[in-house]
Symmetry: none
Subunit: 215 residues, 4 copies
Amino acid sequence: MECSIDSKPRWERRKDARPQELLAAAIDLFVERGFAATRLEDVARRAGVSKGTLYLYYTNKEELFKAVVRESIVPFIGEAEMSVAEFEGHSADLLRHVMLSWWSRIGQSKASGISKLILAEAGNFPELAKFYQEEVTRRGTRMISSMLERGVSRGEFRNVDIPQLTQVLIAPMMMLNTWKHCAVAPCDAHELQPLAFIDAFLDMALHGLLPRTAP
Amino acid sequence: MECSIDSKPRWERRKDARPQELLAAAIDLFVERGFAATRLEDVARRAGVSKGTLYLYYTNKEELFKAVVRESIVPFIGEAEMSVAEFEGHSADLLRHVMLSWWSRIGQSKASGISKLILAEAGNFPELAKFYQEEVTRRGTRMISSMLERGVSRGEFRNVDIPQLTQVLIAPMMMLNTWKHCAVAPCDAHELQPLAFIDAFLDMALHGLLPRTAP
Amino acid sequence: MECSIDSKPRWERRKDARPQELLAAAIDLFVERGFAATRLEDVARRAGVSKGTLYLYYTNKEELFKAVVRESIVPFIGEAEMSVAEFEGHSADLLRHVMLSWWSRIGQSKASGISKLILAEAGNFPELAKFYQEEVTRRGTRMISSMLERGVSRGEFRNVDIPQLTQVLIAPMMMLNTWKHCAVAPCDAHELQPLAFIDAFLDMALHGLLPRTAP
Amino acid sequence: MECSIDSKPRWERRKDARPQELLAAAIDLFVERGFAATRLEDVARRAGVSKGTLYLYYTNKEELFKAVVRESIVPFIGEAEMSVAEFEGHSADLLRHVMLSWWSRIGQSKASGISKLILAEAGNFPELAKFYQEEVTRRGTRMISSMLERGVSRGEFRNVDIPQLTQVLIAPMMMLNTWKHCAVAPCDAHELQPLAFIDAFLDMALHGLLPRTAP
DNA sequence: GATGAATGAGATTTCATTCAT
DNA sequence: GATGAATGAAATCTCATTCAT
């Protein structure tokens, strides 16, 4: 009882679970304290293993972080890419679907904290910045762009400036992220209603995307 | 050998300029690397002095940071408070004036980086969070609120929910800040046009604030 | 160059022995140089480990010092308390026994140097002063007092002023301590014969304590 | 105005007073904090001058300390030597006179703190130890010895072992010193009555020194 | 003479990473 | 595989001493 950090009995833990447990501990601490300020010893302790064990699974702090990103963010991009590739309906519905999925899979989860962390610390860890750029930003951007291309080529969207509009669609999501994680000092974000915000934003965006219908 | 007689001064005495030079170096590095990752020795070196000299002017890292905030952000709040107190025209013009001043004094300057830094690191430095909360956030919030009160009491604004609207006015500014400083990895913000954004945003906000005029 | 394959271990694993080795090194240096002037790096080196290792065992310099006190002085007080509690003979014999034990366990050992160090540096380290006061001085004083009480209540000592006499008994021991550690400059104490001194002192003290017998 | 540490008006201070003021400040702080822990900046501030000024009068910390010793302790030894040389009465009275003078000139003054400081820190500052040894200990020892020689050669004292007895006479004075300055932690010396102690001690000592008179 | 700004070596403490067991 | 003791570079902060003004 006595509140050890995690109360799973040691003997039930299977080897295969280790990476999961480590990643779970890692994402908690990275989100809570940032990359630089997270001590690997704390990660290990929270996962219920020793410091050395952590290094059996991840060569160093950066690799651990990459693994966290690969587990918590990258899969969503894959799914979204799949959606885009396979979706059969109207591009406006696809767009709405992807945005809402993003919110439920990333925005609401701890993964949003990782996103904010990158914003704050990428400058100090170029290797991490490069990795995130390639694995997340670039692919995410491409995925959004391809959605727009799909819409345009199917005649469901107007012939918009795709790179520009891609940015416009990404930015508010980043903003939501930031908001979610600024409870400490500068803005009390408890008034924020993310879903309503996303809805309103999509309406606005689609308004600009959909072909003008005759009055 | 012991006593070389070359007379180049080991240092230059320039007490009055020092604090400015140190603060300039400090804001550069804080914005570039964040609070924790900035080494005081680097600040000193960039200001052209030794480690010890820095401590003649600022007791420790946190005090240096506070001094940076006091120099780069707090005065703007004071000015804005003055504007609010002394302004004689229509509250809508006051609002526009304050927002644009914010952009030119904070948003465009390195001070916006400090704002982002607080977002990212406040959690790890409670003392700093508290300081910023009291000296900046609280005062800023009050200042915005009092602008709204002025508008309402003069009949220039509708009878809005002031605390709520205060948040709504602050948030986009924080967002601009974030955008400005996320060039590194996740979003390429080169498309962003801050002034246009602020304009659009103010139009929208004022639309909600101004009393409905008869058609 | 880079990868010499010589297999001498960078360190030797000997967890159980470490605390002892560190404490031994620490007491040596504390006694030799005092608290403030002792560098933890030197303690570590003398114990044959690196700076960092020391911190695995003791959180900081003060804790290391406390550990030294706990190991070298506190146990003696415990033993003395036991003696007082369990002793069955005449209180004069108890008193003599405790005093001589003190000399052989503390006075003759390095622990006496710790006692002198506290005298000299307590003023600069209030936390240490408090600790020593509580763990050593207070308990020691109580122990002596209770010996006197025992003597009085068993009719073996006269009805003396106990607090006062407690001081009188402690003081000469402190003096012996001081003497032992002033070899450096001011007084050459090589003439001092501690046991003879203690004997003489006890005779004198008991003369004042024992009930007057009829001539 | 401004509440400078000492409120003597700056303009009344004469140059000649400087060394005195510096020594006064220095002895205060040395006694309060010890040699190593005393910061020259504090000494200067307490004397109402700048750090640089202090160096005009004393080349470094050790020289300042020596000056303190020369001012506060050495003169007493000179006086005592004079007394010994010039005294015309019985050697027992001379001894009593010197001992009581010591108490009033050194023991009761801050100088006793210097004596304790040397005890504590001499080991870390060999140069200081050597200085003190030569200027104080050696001379003091010689002075006491010569008193004994005087007594013996005049037939007023028995033919005692002079070096040995010299130590015996010095030791209790050192003890008084120690006692005076151990108020902080280990022994509460408020019961101590120095003059009574000295009296008793002298009685005892003289008992051993004076020739046996016929019964 | 007086000042106090400037220096820089040095002390404590932290933590990613290694590796003998 | 797992452990955790050990390392050592690095960061913050202090203070005796110097020297241009």
